[in-house]
């Protein structure tokens, strides 16, 4: 079919409610035939391109109880329909969750960030989703809800493949739970696109917890280099419990780059991604370490 992005050609039933319970009832009923609509910045593009033709579209942005950022004693909790722009403007995120802040800032442009939600970015399950690497290094957990109840899924078990996650057709993401980070910790995010504000060719996030001149714990996650966003455990292991210096960060960056298995696609080649991943990881490690109060 010839695509015409001026209109939305497909036909479907439209459902909206401000009640979460009502939405879950519909999802139970329509299951795979339904598509959940939040900001629409991924979903409507896919529908216009003819890549998706749901029988029914369920709009969830009217559910006020899914739109919040709560700074609790044990965790930062973000409701799934919170817009990227709201996250960007949040002082706690800006001050303490640098990797998430930098990721959101790097995304698209202001209009897309006003529309797009964090739940949509994860629900879309793109290997390039910019909020995924930061949330992976923060060890975030997702609260998924259905009419049957709720379950908690660690983000590192959520993605299964490109556009695939463990989310069941009757479920939605309700909340993103980010544990409190230690006081001497720092995080960072870097991305390369074809042009600034583009979908990532490659992106990386780092979290480091410092104890004196040693790194007590380090987590590193890449996006756009595998079917899902991934952690690189070998590189992390090289830093855990070690005295940190420039040389060691360089060696860990080398190891991290060797661990990923990028592909060649229309955004970039495999060889380029491999080369550049070392460079951006090294920079991200330095930034995270320095933000954790570490010297280099």
């Amino acid at each position: 079919m010839e695509t015409n992005t001026k209109i939305l050609a497909c036909e479907y039933q439209y459902l909206e409610s401000s009640e979460l319970g009502q939405v879950l009832t519909w999802l139970e009923e329509y299951g795979e035939k339904a598509a959940v609509l939040a900001g629409g910045t991924d979903l409507l593009v896919k529908m216009k391109m003819g890549n998706l033709q749901p029988d029914c579209v369920i709009y969830i942005k009217k559910i006020a109880e899914l739109d919040y950022i709560k700074d609790d004693a044990d965790a930062l909790r973000i409701g799934a329909t919170t817009s990227l722009a709201t996250i960007e403007r949040n002082e706690v995120v800006k001050t303490y969750y640098s990797a998430l802040y930098e990721a959101v800032r790097s995304m698209a442009a202001v209009s897309i960030r006003n529309m797009g939600t964090i739940g949509g970015n994860l629900g879309n399950a793109s290997p390039a989703a910019d909020t995924a690497p930061p949330l992976l290094v923060y060890d975030a957990t997702l609260k998924l809800v259905s009419q049957q109840g709720e379950r908690l899924v660690p983000l590192n078990e959520f993605f299964v493949g490109p556009s695939q996650s463990v989310l069941k057709p009757n479920e939605i993401i309700a909340e993103i739970i980010i544990p409190k980070l230690g006081p001497d910790s720092g995080s960072s995010f870097l991305k390369l696109g074809r042009v600034s504000a583009d979908i990532a060719k490659i992106n990386v996030a780092v979290y480091m917890l410092r104890s004196g001149s040693k790194c007590e714990s380090c987590r590193i996650a890449f996006g756009s280099v595998a079917p899902t966003p991934i952690r690189v455990p070998q590189a992390e292991a090289m830093l855990n419990g070690k005295e940190i210096n420039e040389e060691l960060l360089g060696a860990a960056a080398q190891a991290g780059a060797a661990e990923i298995k990028p592909i060649t696609d229309n955004r970039s080649t495999k060889a380029y991604r491999q080369k550049v991943s070392k460079v951006i990881l090294q920079e991200a490690l330095q930034a995270a370490w320095q933000r954790a109060g570490g010297a280099l």
């Binding site: 209109i7 579209v57 202001v110 897309i112």
Partner: protein, 155 residues
């Protein structure tokens, strides 16, 4: 597909519309309400020509189902000023030659309005960053950035 009645406030006026679930906000504004300011450029969120303000924030009307706008407030470029009394941003775009073919201008103006409402005194860098999703094939952006900067002094 079942049509649905919705109420949308457009440029300060309450409108009752009987919409199909797949009507896009951009086409409703242009075809039903005759507001030809917002433009169709790409249809997939890449160009910003279709930008309008939803409750004061720039959003892309090519990627919004009009039915989801029930109860919301939309401002298009037609809502900024009128022929006798241009908005300071509009006047400044004219004064600085920030318009050539004019295709991107409505999107640029409403995005710039969103910026000044949020940040009345933006730096050049902040202007460039805020407008980064609005593409212009003609002006090379310099005049646009200058026009927004000057307008911020007048607003």
């Amino acid at each position: 597909m079942e049509r649905k009645w919705v109420k949308i406030k457009v440029n300060g006026k309450e409108r009752q519309l009987y919409l199909k679930p797949n009507d896009l906000l951009l086409n409703v504004l242009r075809d039903e309400l005759g507001l030809m300011g917002a433009k169709y450029g790409c249809g997939i969120g890449e160009c910003g020509a279709c930008t309008v303000l939803v409750n004061g924030r720039p959003m892309l009307s090519c990627l919004i189902l009009a039915v989801t706008m029930d109860g919301q407030e939309i401002t298009t470029v037609e809502g900024l000023g009128d022929y006798d009394q241009l908005h300071p941003l509009q006047q400044s775009f004219l004064d600085h030659g920030a318009i050539q073919c004019g295709f991107c201008t409505p999107g640029m103006l409403v995005t710039a309005k969103g910026l000044l409402d949020e940040n009345p005194n933006p730096s050049e860098e902040e202007i460039r960053d805020y407008l980064r999703g609005n593409l212009c094939r003609c002006t090379g952006y310099t005049a646009i950035v200058k026009a927004v900067k000057e307008a911020s002094k007048a607003v």
